[in-house]
């Protein structure tokens, strides 16, 4: 509750043009905003670019916010809109740059390092990607809940939904994830079995 009041005070100050208050708000929000962006952005979109756009919009539009209590929901809507808009753009500046200088996929390229990291925690990545493919209404609260700083109440505040709904969605989202992963595993096992059978019969098509 105290935390809430402090936040409202900070939001009010930021609305009135207090630069320090605005920085404080951003420091406090950028991680959960990043999680929301990850829940909605297309895979190829750059998280940093989107966060910079959100930071800019926050600076430009904070004065238009009427109710300080609506800050989280307002910022969330802004983040989702930008993440979705990014999905409509196809050209990625970074990729173009790398292609131009002929570095994409080359030895020691960032892609390779990412691959190495991916191999190191393949299973976690698989789970994470599965979580990101949950239906939007479930993946957002599930991801937000994975941020230690986000309580159910804060998630409810940001999403504009009752806490009970958030709790139910998180619980169901987790079940969906469990089932999705179990299904994936089953599918992989049956494929593996098919390969083994194929090689046992001499690899005949």
């Amino acid at each position: 509750m105290d935390d809430q009041r402090i936040n409202e005070g900070v939001v009010s100050a930021a609305i009135k043009g207090d630069r320090e208050a605005l920085s404080l708000l951003w420091d406090d929000s950028r991680r959960w905003v990043a999680a929301i962006v990850l829940a909605y952005k297309p895979r190829e979109a750059d998280l940093e670019d989107l966060l910079q756009q959100i930071a800019m919009q926050l600076c430009r539009k904070i004065s238009t916010l009427d109710d300080p209590r609506a800050f989280r929901g307002w910022l969330r809507t802004m983040a989702i809109n930008l993440a979705r808009a990014e999905g409509r753009k196809t050209t990625r500046r970074k990729r173009s740059m790398l292609r131009l200088v002929g570095m994409r996929g080359g030895a020691g390229s960032p892609d390779e390092r990412v691959d190495e990291l991916a191999q190191a925690s393949e299973e976690s990545r698989r789970i994470y990607h599965a979580a990101r493919s949950l239906p939007a209404g479930y993946r957002e609260p599930v991801l937000l809940r994975c941020l230690q700083s986000m309580s159910y109440e804060q998630i409810s505040d940001a999403m504009g939904l009752p806490v009970t709904t958030i709790e139910t969605r998180i619980a169901r989202g987790r079940r969906m994830l469990r089932e999705m992963l179990a299904q994936q595993k089953k599918h992989e096992e049956s494929q593996h079995r098919a390969v083994l059978q194929g090689s046992a019969t001499g690899g005949a098509p």
Binding site: Q52, R125, Y128, C146, S151, R174
Partner: protein, 233 residues
Amino acid sequence: MSAENTNQNHDDLLDELLPDSARDLLISRVIDGRASTSDWDRFRALASREPEIWCELAETQEQHEAVRCELAGAIAAADQIDLPVGPIDDTHTRERLGMVGKWGGWALAAALLLAWSLGYPMLPAQGGSGNGTQTAGLPVGGLGGIGLTEAEPEQAFEQYMSAGQKAGRVIAEMPEQVVVETRPMPDGSIEVMYLRQVIERRVIDQAYRQVRDDAGNTIAVPVRFEPRTNNAY
């Protein structure tokens, strides 16, 4: 306190929900540390009838941890994003970008933008900067005893490469050259205009990313990096 209240309100719902949903809620509450005494009683009662709920709990906990770790890594970039420091006058940048855009596309535009941002010349000034002994900010090493003003373009380029590499300012030339335009000449020969790309390095105190806001203004956004220690390599 509010979490407890919410749990109590939701407890009424718990028994009315479908068996699967009640089960999911119990598992979720245990994972999130929100399970009340009555939740634990329900959980134990359920587990005595269906022991596989322990496996579901373990599995869900494991998946939650995996997503938490991956997400923490994925959003770490957020800590580097600060609020913009304010609008900057971008008239010159636009003029330069427009001009170079005709020549070499993004690569060249980015190179000149970098030059503009860093405030140092990337191309040697015509006729030298007074004494004719500097190229791209590097001293001429007098390779082969040839002064830069007398050198052929290829020799001058070689000098620039060697001196730059020696000074740690030039890393290498990209092996591929980008053809910008090809056209036939009256004497039957062919004129080829191409881009040679050299990778240079420079150590700076503060880096900025230039991004456009929705009104088209260029904004400089400071980029923060964590200092790297030798152990990081």
